[in-house]
């Protein structure tokens, strides 16, 4: 009964998986052994800092076992009970989507139906009639990632691509490039080697809308938390600015400021006012590196068109922060070496997802510029990236075109989509329901600033509309905008056929006509590096968010559970039925594809395939005297860029703006969008189109902020992992339903008669969500805080836009984009009201329980959802799988 140990990596970090007799027993962190290389040593202020010899996942990664045997696993292919395969695609009871139950189907039945419908639809309306969209990162690994297998299949098929909006970057993507370039990093900064710089030099950290222990370096698990403890122990002062005294702040902050949501840009202006009037900024640096600074300074001083000086008193009225405190903040920042930023990579924090997002991003950068950005201890660095790494070791990340099975050189032939029509993710429902939509930009505009201004129209002239939607992984109810629109879209007969391919029965799966059960990462082969999103991609060298650079063979720990199959198998089967099976697979198995990534990277020179797959991982060591390329230092000191992710303009010592300097008046905006009111050539604080100055505030007085979640990753974990429902700051399990915690200030709670633990209804004209109230001084007075990205979606009337008890607060967010020419989302500019809820509390009404009927039909002895959550279902499932494994093993012997 020896334990087999395999490894994997997921969005929460790397894990070691112990398997006994064909069932997963436990999930552990990877503890490095003596054969693994030594860790780097940073010397700073008389101390030495080196990482622990274990790679640290976040708690979400430690639940991968439970996500595999979860109650909400889609166990069998399923077809909607009242779906009728009419020959013309009409009269299919589309209005019942989201409401109807499902019947079990065989794989052949489901796959044949999908293939038949694709053929029929494409023959009738053309290739463009099929559209498909994935969630982000519902699995990890270069074979299974959406830009690999999914992209290969759909590009070969030909389809209307749905462009993702940069939903974590927004204000930085659409704003920051106009100030300092870096469009190739989507407006994020370069943090190379800044951990060492920070440990050696920094005195003050500005954590602006930044909760590093919650966003965890993106996919770096808990790798960087200790770095911030080191900084703390060195006496570095941490100043947090966030309407919610977030989980990093409340434990670590030396000072917390809670501005009214969406007013951060006003705070930026007031800080600049103090510096300009007191002369406490780096004038030489500005003279050398800034473009049209004086015009902006005039605006700050009240000599601009609005004739309003941006004094601390002016900002006090907007933000609620006392003017005296604003002055003190400005002076501390100016008088000490200060680093900081917004969100895990300098740009990302929730404030960039407000109506003011672009303006905040640009103004925050301008502040760092005024203090000599790039000089030692003066930089945009948020304490989450910038560890030493061996820049000469290359293994691909998910956004590298060179490391996707859709493309050469991993594949022999690159898959190319023959359809140019596109859709834009935040507005897919608008396009389907209205039959028309137009927008600017390419979503992710890493290829150039001009891509922000491309014009799109749906349907493209000469093209037909979309009539089939294939959803793959995750749940947009919890992550997109005004998401009751998605319900309306799914119920529309415009969509003749809806497929959903997922591991778990997420909120969106229930709107499909056919559901295809995929397996987890633990049930198939893959290969991937921790937190590597692509060295040539838009988050280049994100692995510097880890202490260890580790490439992992994501071995198959167990066989796919029930009738689930790998995504690759599913797409290969459909490709086969559509006549391009051979082209799709090029004759390769999933394991063969894994080996291609080893072969086409530096990994093959470091370790043999046999040793790599046997050991399960490879740690790329950092040489004792590693190359240092401090972010922005080249620009501050005026030599050609030496950082590993550079562009030709930088080789000339210039930034990626028109002038090559920091633009305080943006020449690119003057050129492309001089009349854009949301994003003006001079970045300014603007009243939000949904904020405290809006007429609507008379009816809906509270701001709702929905930051990236602490107790989840996108929508992946909360639904599938009932243990998280027992974390008091996350959810409260009442009558068989897990209610999301929403936070309200004690003063406002008292006015509303709400006590801690009461049921609290969040509502506005877009919908209502029932939560549990947490009454806390940690939230700004006018703010309701509830984490976004709820994986659970449970309207009390399934299939209707009724009250949700799953905590899907994005239902309440505005569908409006930041500006007419700024296609970013702004869910943190939401107004609503709250009240104490005294209506009936539903009993165990999770829609997932509808899986029980299908499970019992397939196996009368099957465990029910509730039994798996609260009882012995989990143990029974493991016992059954073990028995079947041992039986098969005996037969083999």
């Amino acid at each position: 009964m020896a334990e087999k140990i395999t490894h994997s990596v997921c969005v929460g970090g790397p894990i070691a998986i112990h398997t006994v007799d064909g069932v997963i027993r436990r999930i552990r962190p990877i503890v490095l052994d003596d054969n693994d290389p030594k860790g780097w040593v940073i010397k700073a202020r008389g101390k030495e800092f080196t990482p622990d010899r274990k790679v640290k996942p976040a708690f979400i990664a430690l639940t991968e076992k439970n996500r595999a045997y979860s109650y909400d696993r889609i166990r069998y292919p399923m077809i909607r009970e009242d779906f009728v395969e009419t020959p013309d695609g009409k009269n299919r009871n589309a209005e019942n989507r989201g409401k109807s139950g499902y019947r079990r189907a065989t794989w052949d039945e489901a796959l044949d139906l999908v293939a038949r419908e694709i053929k029929r639809l494409q023959a009738t309306y053309g290739k463009e009639t099929v559209t498909a969209c994935t969630g982000s990162h519902h699995s990890w690994g270069l074979v299974g990632y959406k830009l690999s297998t999914f992209a290969r299949f759909f590009r070969m098929l030909g389809y209307t691509e749905i462009k993702d909006n940069p939903d974590s970057w927004e204000g930085f993507t659409w704003g920051a490039p106009h100030t300092y370039g870096y469009y190739w990093r989507l407006g994020g900064t370069e943090a190379f080697d800044l951990l060492e710089d920070g440990l050696q030099n920094v005195e003050t950290m500005i954590m602006w809308s930044h909760d590093p222990d919650t966003t965890r370096g993106g996919y770096a698990g808990s790798e960087s938390t200790l770095w911030r403890h080191w900084l703390n122990d060195l006496g570095v002062q941490f100043i947090y600015i966030d309407p919610y005294n977030n989980f990093s702040s409340v434990k670590q902050a030396d000072k917390w400021f809670g501005p009214r949501p969406g007013t951060d840009a006003a705070l930026c202006e007031a800080i600049a006012y103090v510096w300009i009037t007191e002369g406490s900024y780096d004038k030489d640096y500005i003279a050398k590196h800034a473009h049209r600074f004086d015009e902006w300074a005039d605006y700050i001083l009240g000599k601009g068109v609005d004739k309003t000086a941006k004094t601390p008193k002016y900002a006090e009225a907007e933000t609620g922060i006392p003017a005296a405190d604003i002055k003190a903040l400005a002076r501390r920042w100016a008088s000490t070496k200060t680093m900081g930023g917004s969100g895990m990579r300098g740009g990302f924090g929730g404030v960039c997802r407000t109506a003011n997002g672009t303006e905040f991003a640009r103004l925050m950068i301008q502040l760092f510029v005024m203090q000599g950005m790039g000089k030692p201890g003066q930089n945009i660095w948020a304490g989450t990236t910038g560890a030493p790494m061996d820049y000469n070791f290359w293994f691909g990340g998910y956004s590298d075109p060179l490391s996707q099975i859709a493309n050469q050189p991993i594949a022999d032939k690159t898959a190319v989509n023959c359809v140019i029509q596109k859709l834009y993710r935040p507005n897919v429902p608008d396009a389907i329901l209205d039959g028309h939509y137009e927008w600017y930009g390419e979503g992710f505009c890493g290829g150039g600033i001009d891509l922000e201004f491309t014009e799109h129209i749906y349907p493209e002239p000469g093209y037909n509309k979309v009539h089939m939607f294939w959803r793959y992984g995750g749940c947009f109810m919890g992550t997109m905008l005004d998401t009751n629109k998605w319900v309306k879209m799914y119920k529309s007969p415009e969509l003749e056929f809806v497929v959903n391919q997922d591991i778990h029965f997420h909120g969106e799966a229930r709107f499909a006509d056919v559901i295809l059960p995929a397996c987890t990462n633990l049930e198939r082969y893959d290969i991937g590096e921790l937190c590597n999103s692509g060295n040539g991609g838009y988050q280049s060298h994100s692995q510097t968010g880890n202490s260890w650079q580790i490439v992992i063979f994501q071995d198959k720990a167990i066989e796919p559970l029930w009738e689930s199959r790998s995504d690759y198998w599913i797409f290969a089967q459909v490709a086969e039925r559509l006549g391009f099976g051979q082209e799709f697979s090029e004759g390769r198995t999933e394991l063969d594809w894994c080996k291609r990534f080893w072969e086409k990277s530096d990994l093959c020179e470091k370790i043999s395939w046999e040793d790599f797959t046997k050991k399960g991982y490879y740690v790329a060591g950092v040489p004792e005297e590693w190359e240092r390329h401090f972010g922005f230092r080249w620009f501050a000191e005026g030599y050609p860029c030496d950082t590993p992710n550079h562009k030709p303009c930088q080789e000339e010592g210039k930034l990626g703006t028109f002038t090559g300097k920091f633009e305080f008046v943006s020449e690119s905006l003057l050129y492309w969008a001089p009349n854009d009111e949301a994003r003006t050539p001079i970045a300014t604080y603007k009243h939000s189109w949904e904020g405290h100055h809006s007429i609507k505030a008379r009816k809906y007085p509270f701001h709702l902020i929905t930051p990236h979640p602490r107790f989840d990753y996108h929508t992946q974990h909360n639904e599938s992992t009932p243990w998280f429902w027992e974390i008091p700051e996350n959810r409260v399990y009442i009558n068989g339903n897990p209610y999301l915690v929403a936070r309200i200030h004690p003063k406002k709670a008292a006015e509303k008669g709400i006590k801690d633990g009461d049921m609290m209804l969040l509502f506005n004209e877009r919908g209502s969500v029932l939560c549990v109230a947490r009454v806390t001084y940690r939230v700004e007075e006018n703010t309701i805080h509830a984490y976004g990205s709820s994986g659970i979606y449970n309207p009390v009337d399934p299939g209707e836009t009724s009250m949700d008890i799953g905590g899907c607060v994005n239902i309440l967010s505005p569908g409006r984009l930041i500006g007419d020419m700024v296609p970013g989302m702004a869910p943190n500019s939401t107004l609503l009201d709250v009240c104490k809820y005294e209506g009936p509390i539903p009993d165990s009404q999770c829609f997932e329980y509808k899986l029980d009927a299908v499970a019992k039909d397939a196996d009368p002895d099957a465990e029910s959802c509730k039994e798996i959550i609260e009882g012995h279902g989990f143990e029974k499932i493991q016992a059954k799988v073990r028995a079947s494994y041992l039986k098969k093993g005996a037969a083999a012997r």
């Binding site: 430690l62 434990k251 005296a324 002055k327 798996i868």
Partner: protein
């Protein structure tokens, strides 16, 4: 040898790795030392968290991973019948899953609520310090190094908030951590010798901010703050920082504390506070002397 765990509350970020690893190990799996932990309702290591402060201007949380203290003289053992609770030679306290059947008194006796009652099996259950893994020669043998054998919660902690080792060895990591930090036994365990040690668990703070007269809109840096507890005669001193903020941590609980703020050229300001909970004494505006 006396095996123990040290919990450093200052380093704990409430990341729930320990909580999850413990559940991963014990929910649904029995061992010789314990019955299976139910899927919901028990937290053998529970991240207890409370908010500190009564004003948004100064708010913190205390985060205290709480598990069985593995007391030297366990209260639960005293009420146990037929040897249902026993202490191993290495100091780990175990509740026998067979012998403890029906003995709810064992769960009720725990002063910190770390023993849970399993309604279905009618047994008390709690942390085993993963003794079943420490005992198992097969577990983790592949690494060949016994130092890697630590309880699951300790292994999963990314933040040096949990230490495991031999309390009798003064050179062990855990002994060093205890020597270098403020040892703060949980209140209900005061005076008891335990093998789980809590470090840096906060008591109560008093804090405030000092400003020049209101119309100036400026914070006062370097004002002297003196705290006095008449009852005990203790005093504490602080100085306002670059934000005009002052704070004194680790004050004794439930005492009346007199606060005096002085700054040259300005009238002294006096107030008092009761340390029933953490208080922000407010924004103090000085007046010219």
């Amino acid at each position: 040898m006396r095996l123990g765990i040290a919990v450093d509350s200052r380093m704990c970020m409430a990341c729930y790795c320990c909580f999850t690893a413990c559940k991963d190990e014990h929910c649904g799996y029995a061992s010789k030392l314990s019955a299976a932990q139910p899927m919901m309702g028990q937290y053998w290591i529970d991240v207890r968290e409370w908010e500190r402060g009564d004003d948004s201007r100064h708010i913190k949380t205390a985060t205290v991973p709480t598990l069985c203290a593995h007391c030297q003289d366990p209260a639960c053992a005293k009420v146990a019948k037929n040897g249902a609770v026993y202490k191993r030679p290495d100091g780990i306290v175990i509740i026998d899953p067979e012998k403890s059947k029906g003995q709810k008194a064992i769960a009720d006796a725990c002063p910190i609520g770390a023993v849970y009652w399993n309604e279905e099996y009618q047994i008390p259950q709690k942390c085993t310090m993963c003794a079943e893994l420490l005992d198992d020669p097969e577990y983790l043998a592949y690494m060949g190094d016994p130092k890697f054998k630590v309880p699951r919660c300790v292994e999963a902690c990314p933040n040096h908030a949990l230490y495991f080792g031999d309390l009798d060895d003064p050179n062990s990591e855990i002994s060093k951590a205890i020597a270098e930090n403020r040892v703060t036994p949980l209140e209900p365990l005061a005076g008891k010798e335990t093998n789980v040690k809590w470090l840096n668990v906060p008591t109560v703070f008093l804090a405030g901010t000092v400003y020049y007269p209101k119309e100036t809109e400026e914070v006062v840096i370097g004002a002297k703050v003196k705290l006095t507890c008449k009852e005990t005669g203790e005093t504490w001193e602080a100085e306002t920082n670059y934000f005009g903020d002052w704070e004194v941590e680790f004050l004794p609980k439930n005492k009346n504390i007199d606060v005096e703020i002085t700054f040259k050229g300005y009238k002294p300001v006096k107030c008092s506070a009761h340390t029933d909970i953490d208080h922000y004494t407010g924004m103090t505006y000085l007046e010219k002397a």
